[in-house]
């Protein structure tokens, strides 16, 4: 802790005045800024610039003021007050936005749609018996199995192949690029590929144009039961393969080259090297990537929401959560679905965190 005997003490009156002025300025900026943001309507550009500076500035100011207040106390008080000031805001926000909501959602899941009457396990019974929910679970399983395996396998193949190419970074950048695109943006991109204009009209959708060029019939792909789920899963694979590739590529580069060279000298084929050396060596990263994509496919929402809205047999659990709450206004059902999601994710994430702690990827 600090050594106050080395600091030249300031005039206490002057210090108090400074503190009061700082407090007053903070109150004015925080309160005034809030009112200004609410009331000001003239120029959107001014509003945006103001919002950015006010939001970031206020946060910095808040810490400065709290710390200045904290430092006026005696050393003994400071020893526990300063850590509280440093960590307190984060803990308050975490409590408000994550801890409390989890408990509240858990509570709401036992109440009826308007959260007034206790209904016991009825909402959970609904979640596991309602036909729409069962369809959603089935589809989530498709996403989980095909989305995850597609992403990881493709990512691995590209990582291994790119490692042998002279233009490695260029190839990787192109595959990685979709990571920067929003799911909504990706939805538009792929909706355009799957576009269908009707019989006898010039195709503007790439997929139909290809099908027709090979002598097939154009289709309304997104309404084609059975197929449409896979066409949506392709979007996720397109978006996430870059992620799998980057992590796996880094892991492959971490394999000592002597190990591979030695087995090559011993006459191992490339396939043997791949399955007996590369795969076992990158197992940790492979598990991290798989679990991350797995969780992602469980929580998937945006793609389905934008592409089909969950119609034509493509509904998923996270979209049904949204529909129950915001279309049907059934808070009980929605809360139960959210809790089911949480329970599905917890074991995967705990496993992931444990793997992660062992790997210590962040240096």
């Amino acid at each position: 802790m600090s050594s106050p005997q080395l600091v030249i003490p300031e005039n206490p009156v002057w210090k108090a005045v400074k503190l009061i002025v700082l407090l007053a300025v903070t109150v004015v900026i925080l309160g005034g800024g809030f009112v200004f943001l609410k009331e000001y309507k003239d120029s959107k550009i001014i509003l945006t610039v103001f919002a950015v500076f006010w939001g970031v500035g206020s946060t910095g100011l808040l810490y400065t003021v709290l710390n200045a207040l904290g430092e006026t106390f005696s050393r003994k008080v400071r020893a526990w007050l300063l850590p509280l000031i440093f960590a307190g805001p984060a803990l308050v926000l975490l409590f408000w936005f994550l801890v409390l909501p989890t408990l509240r959602t858990f509570g709401l899941s036992f109440l009826d749609e308007t959260s007034t009457r206790f209904v016991g396990l009825e909402n959970y019974l609904y979640a596991f018996t309602n036909p729409t929910m069962l369809e959603s679970f089935g589809n989530n399983l498709l996403w989980l199995v095909f989305g995850t395996s597609g992403t990881v396998i493709l990512g691995l193949i590209i990582a291994v192949l790119a490692d042998r190419s002279r233009w490695e970074s260029a190839f990787k950048a192109l595959v990685f690029m979709p990571m920067a695109i929003s799911f909504v943006g990706a939805g538009v991109i792929w909706k355009f590929i799957y576009a269908y204009k009707g019989e006898g009209v010039a195709d503007i959708g790439l997929l139909n144009a290809i099908v027709v060029a090979f002598g097939g019939q154009p289709q309304a792909w997104l309404q084609l039961a059975g197929w449409n789920n896979f066409l949506l899963i392709i979007i996720m694979v397109w978006l996430q393969t870059g992620y799998a590739m980057v992590i796996l590529s880094a892991a492959i580069k971490g394999i000592p080259s002597e190990q591979i060279e030695a087995s090559r000298v011993d006459g191992a084929t490339e396939f043997q090297i791949f399955f007996r050396i590369i795969i076992p060596s990158i197992m940790g990263s492979l598990i991290t990537v798989t679990t991350t994509v797995l969780i992602f496919s469980l929580k998937l929402f945006d793609i389905v929401r934008v592409m089909t809205g969950g119609n034509f047999g493509t509904n998923v659990v996270a979209n049904q959560f949204y529909i129950e709450q915001f279309t049907f206004g059934s808070t009980g059902h929605a809360s139960a679905i959210a809790i089911v999601l949480l329970i599905a994710i917890v074991p995967v994430l705990i496993y992931n965190l444990r793997q992660f702690a062992e790997r210590k990827a962040f240096k």
């Binding site: 919002a51 803990l91 042998r164 929003s182 909706k191 705990i350």
Partner: protein, 369 residues
């Protein structure tokens, strides 16, 4: 398998060629979808509705080269002879090839007596590109465009200008605020003594498992009570709350790994924890801060669910504006493609200019729930 390994072994030219071909094929598949949207966003709306975007590439195709007005004496109910070919009305209506490279087609009903001539030619060199789609999608007022038949349609614009500004007003503070709060907390967890430090930190990391959906309904109820729905502040708070576990975890790993000597010498020089943090720790932690910043910025900018619920139709951000457009005007590809591209520009620029930091953040951030 680093570059060293490759130098050590004789490259097999055939294997190298196959690898390169596979990679090129993959790169094409990965790029073409985005390219299609980019090209389309610059095409004339009439062209977008009547032909695929790939037709801007040079290719052999049919182009209209002229029209023939038939004499009033020609009886459409009898076989008609034009340019040496004889066929009935139905056949002319469907189109008749005079030579392999020249096609004649009756347009409209029997009374129009107009024959359209098209020839097979190399086309696509002078693609008809325009910025109108961008002008239209950014506009808040009335917009006009042509449909596939060339008819003019007027609509209310989608005001993407406001959406982009809203996205900036949401994303920049929602990136910087959690970083600041998390850095303070990470410093406290790493270098300050207080009871229960370890337990609380483990609980914070444990919150990584909570999926977003869990928090939405209760938080929406709170925001409704506080009258915060539709405000930037609501979005900053929500994204800060949801982003904090990962931010604290990552920054703790970095800040906790800084050498103890630096801090001790600062304290001996009489620095308070606050000045040590601001003057010493924050500048030293810039790589970690940047990694998380890019991660969080892309996450917030591309987020749809949180914006959909807490902003609603007030202060629409680009993702919700785009999604609304898909719902309302699902076939207006000239607006959808330019809107989609507008939503992608900033994240793509951030991504490509700061890719190294992003990759580092991604490696570390593989644990978000």
């Amino acid at each position: 398998m680093s570059k060293k390994a490759q130098e050590g072994r004789k490259p097999n030219p055939l294997a190298t060629l196959i690898v390169t071909l596979i990679l090129v094929a993959i790169a094409v598949v990965w790029t073409v979808p985005t390219l299609g949207v980019l090209v389309t966003s610059f095409r004339d709306s009439k062209d977008i509705f009547s032909s695929g975007w790939w037709t801007v590439l040079p290719h052999q195709g049919w182009t209209k080269t002229g029209e023939i007005e038939l004499d009033a004496a020609v009886d459409p109910d009898q076989p008609i002879t034009i340019e040496g070919k004889t066929a009935d009305f139905a056949a002319w209506r469907a189109g008749v090839s005079v030579t392999p490279d020249r096609q004649l087609k009756w347009v409209g009903n029997k009374r129009t007596r107009t024959i359209e001539v098209s020839e097979r030619r190399w086309v696509g060199f002078g693609a008809n590109l325009t910025m109108d789609n961008y002008k239209n999608v950014l506009s808040a007022g009335e917009i006009k465009y042509k449909d596939g038949q060339g008819q003019e349609i007027s609509r209310q614009g989608n005001n993407f200008t406001d959406a982009v500004l809203n996205s900036l007003a949401v994303a920049i503070p929602a990136t910087l605020i959690p970083i600041l709060i998390a850095a303070f907390a990470a410093f406290a967890f790493a270098w300050m003594e207080f009871p229960g430090r370890k337990t609380v930190f483990i609980l914070v990391v444990g919150l990584l498992v909570v999926p977003l959906q869990i928090a939405l309904i209760p938080i929406l109820q709170d925001f409704t009570k506080l009258d915060l729905n539709g405000t930037y502040l609501a979005m900053w708070l929500a994204h800060t709350g949801f982003g904090l576990p990962l931010a604290i975890y990552l920054l703790f790993n970095y800040i906790g790994g800084l050498p103890r000597d630096i801090l001790e010498s600062a304290y001996i020089d009489g620095a308070t924890p606050f000045t040590t943090f601001v003057r010493l720790i924050l500048p030293l932690a810039v790589p970690a801060l940047a990694s998380f910043a890019i991660f969080q910025f892309l996450w917030v900018w591309n987020d749809y669910l949180v914006a959909l619920i807490f902003l609603g139709d007030r202060n629409r951000v680009v993702t919700s504006a785009l999604a609304a457009m898909v719902g309302e005007k699902g076939q207006d590809w000239h607006l959808l493609t330019s809107g989609a591209f507008l939503s992608m520009i900033l994240p793509l620029v951030v991504f490509f200019s700061l890719q190294r930091f992003f990759v580092r953040g991604l490696m570390a951030g593989s644990v978000k729930g």
